[in-house]
């Protein structure tokens, strides 16, 4: 059976659940972060504690390359695939980053400090636009501002290396995503809800695997913990393809038997916002994981 058939079959009613149903049925068995009026920082802390109970003797920094090194490490060390390595990808990204626009400027002009140590603060909440802005959106916004065509989100061949290079300019920095206003909190909460929402024919949530079963083995591979995931994206796949975080969200949704939201959609942007916040304080390592 093709995946498109699976997706078509699963469209209703599994993704069109009502908020009440989600709150009443789906979220209760999972982590209860959304049910207490705690701050995002407190929620992150309680999630750290829950994961440390699941994977004793580990800390968030240990989860960056896979949740449970004692069982099976999900991550494969970089450069295991000789065909392509991170240097090749970053060189492609740098070339695109340094490319002069028709007006003589380049992407660096749009970011403070020419983009160094900036990606570690993304996703950001744009108060004027009232939306979450990802690294990829910020790059496209800059391109459009300077009369250049934007890069289609699924165009991993160009956006992947470009966002990898931008993020590599923050390597070694601690991820510091801010949720600094009521409006930003709404987006964060929407992302949290998406993280906990059971979807698809398989009836699973992101939290089912990456909280409830973090460190366990699924399909012969260790399930990573949600905390630590955000700092290593984008990822390099065997064969040299770069895959972005939202493309991975889509893969998980497809695996759940649900029709995935589009890359760059409000749903996935909010999910990325919550997801990145959970890795706050961890050190950025773009392309550190190959899988």
């Amino acid at each position: 059976m093709t995946s498109s058939l699976i997706l078509k079959r699963c469209r209703p009613p599994y993704l069109s659940v009502t908020l009440g149903w989600v709150l009443g049925v789906c979220l209760l068995p999972l982590v209860s972060m959304a049910q207490t009026p705690s701050t995002p920082d407190q929620q992150r802390q309680s999630l750290v504690q829950a994961l440390q109970k699941r994977i004793p003797g580990t800390n968030p920094a240990d989860w960056v390359l896979g949740a449970n090194p004692a069982v099976v490490v999900e991550a494969i060390p970089l450069n295991a695939d000789n065909a392509t390595n991170s240097a090749d990808i970053l060189a492609i990204g740098k070339k695109a980053w340094d490319r002069k626009f028709k007006n003589g400027k380049s992407l660096a002009i749009c970011f403070p400090n020419a983009g160094k140590r900036v990606a570690a603060t993304y996703p950001q909440f744009d108060a004027k636009a009232r939306q979450v802005v990802t690294v990829e959106m910020a790059i496209n916004k800059c391109l459009v501002l300077h009369g250049e065509p934007e890069i289609a989100a699924p165009n991993a061949n160009l956006m992947g290396p470009l966002s990898a290079y931008f993020k590599s300019l923050s390597d070694g920095q601690r991820l510091t995503v801010r949720v600094g206003s009521v409006q930003a909190r709404e987006k964060y909460d929407a992302g949290l809800m998406m993280f906990q929402r059971r979807i698809g024919q398989q009836d699973v949530a992101c939290a089912s695997c990456h909280v409830q079963n973090a460190g366990n083995i699924y399909q012969k591979q260790g399930l990573s913990a949600v905390i630590g995931q955000a700092v290593t994206w984008p990822r390099l796949q065997p064969g040299g393809r770069v895959i972005g975080l939202q493309a991975q969200f889509q893969r998980c949704m497809q695996r759940s038997g649900a029709e995935p939201f589009a890359v760059g959609s409000e749903e996935l942007n909010n999910l990325e916002y919550f997801h990145a916040f959970m890795s706050n304080g961890l050190t950025m390592r773009a392309l550190a994981v190959q899988r």
Partner: protein, 125 residues
């Protein structure tokens, strides 16, 4: 006479309702060979994704989200246990709302007869 008719109708409705609310009671004999294929098929049972199976050489690296499936034939030998096993495959969330196990029957991942086939295969383990 009318009252008797209404009472009889109510009884029929009650019986119908009770039957409808019963968990799956089917004890149809499935095909273990077909069940084995469904058990392994990624878009059907894909059971090995979460369970250690008898073909996994060792526990190290074997899936461990659900219980290991060795000895299920003995464990669920009694007819009532078999119904319980079948119901678990059909919709595990009815008994355990926080389960990660897909509701194979409820969400039409497997047909009722395919569930019978998988139960038949599990009985051989």
């Amino acid at each position: 006479m009318v009252a008797l008719g209404i009472t009889r109708s109510c009884h029929l409705l009650l019986i119908f309702t009770l039957v409808s609310l019963q968990p799956s009671q089917s004890l149809a004999q499935g095909n273990a060979i077909a069940g084995r294929a469904l058990f392994a098929e990624e878009r059907k049972g894909n059971c090995g994704a979460c369970h250690k199976t008898p073909t996994d050489a060792s526990r190290t690296g074997a899936s461990n989200i659900g219980p290991a499936l060795e000895g299920f034939g003995q464990k669920y030998a009694a007819p009532t246990d078999r119904v319980r096993l079948r119901d678990s495959i059909r919709d595990r969330s009815a008994a355990n709302p926080s389960t990660i196990m897909p509701p194979y029957g409820k969400h039409h991942i497997l047909t009722e007869s395919e569930i019978d086939d998988i139960v038949a295969y599990l009985e051989t383990l």
